[in-house]
Symmetry: C2
Subunit: 140 residues, 2 copies
Amino acid sequence: MDTNDRPYSQILARLRDAGLRPTRQRLALGRLLFEAGDRHVTAESLHEQAVSAGASVSLATVYNTLHQFTKAGLLREVVVDSARTYFDTNTSDHHHFFHEEDGSLSDISGHAIEVTGLPEAPAGTDVARVDIVVRVRSSR
Amino acid sequence: MDTNDRPYSQILARLRDAGLRPTRQRLALGRLLFEAGDRHVTAESLHEQAVSAGASVSLATVYNTLHQFTKAGLLREVVVDSARTYFDTNTSDHHHFFHEEDGSLSDISGHAIEVTGLPEAPAGTDVARVDIVVRVRSSR
DNA sequence: ATTCTCTTTAGAAGAATTATAAACTATTGA
DNA sequence: TCAATAGTTTATAATTCTTCTAAAGAGAAT
Ligand SMILES: [Mn+2]
Ligand SMILES: [Mn+2]
Ligand SMILES: [Zn+2]
Ligand SMILES: [Zn+2]
């Protein structure tokens, strides 16, 4: 009943709502993902963090969990690099700065953004999403 | 001196300007890429097309050539799918519709597009490019 | 022609991701 | 409580895309 119970129970509730059993692994990954504000992770980076935080979880489970969380709407995928998949804990409408040099992402709120001049979607198709990626590099 | 000489010599000139020897393989790939209007290819798709057009070229050479052409400014990469790399013969400022179902791309001219509300690039960085991907799906 | 440099290629290797199937664990309900 | 059940984890193999290696081949220069 101390203040540390809240995060746990929030994550428990998220797992419950998603129909996922609150296993040791999912709780550990859920805490890493959702207790620290918005995050952009790859399977490898989250696995490393979990292991170095003392959680015993396999890379296969990290992949499974990221995909399950994504299907449950707790995460979304961000495509910015054809070499690896990023997962984003911010599921609201937003866009990204992508640092090509170190592979890091930062959010651009979707509220202020407006795109004008887009043609209609090709005949027979509907727009699923509009993604904007601003690729940046260190100046000098 | 017939009309078929023009495309060849255009591609020869492009290779020459890029400092690339006009080998049988580069000419064949260059013709497939540049004689048919704007194209979006993957290494695999271009290799298949080359082979079925009777050109004898290895997949490794297709990868090499796509990267060399990109470095020379004849192609650009488009990141829309974390599973494979697309190369685009349209090197002008433009954006894309991406059909997630069949992996096809189509161009959105950059001229008409305007994005408002973008924050400044993070401190110490410069914008290298802004990419807009409109993900579409078949309606119904 | 000879030589030099660049290019191609088969095959190995690398990296990210997914599949398999056996061991494990949470949940259920006797 | 305690099986029985269904869901989960994981080591390991497999897959896919891409890059590397090093030897053979081909264009360019002399
Ligand atoms: Mn995936
Ligand atoms: Mn590449
Ligand atoms: Zn984000
Ligand atoms: Zn294009």
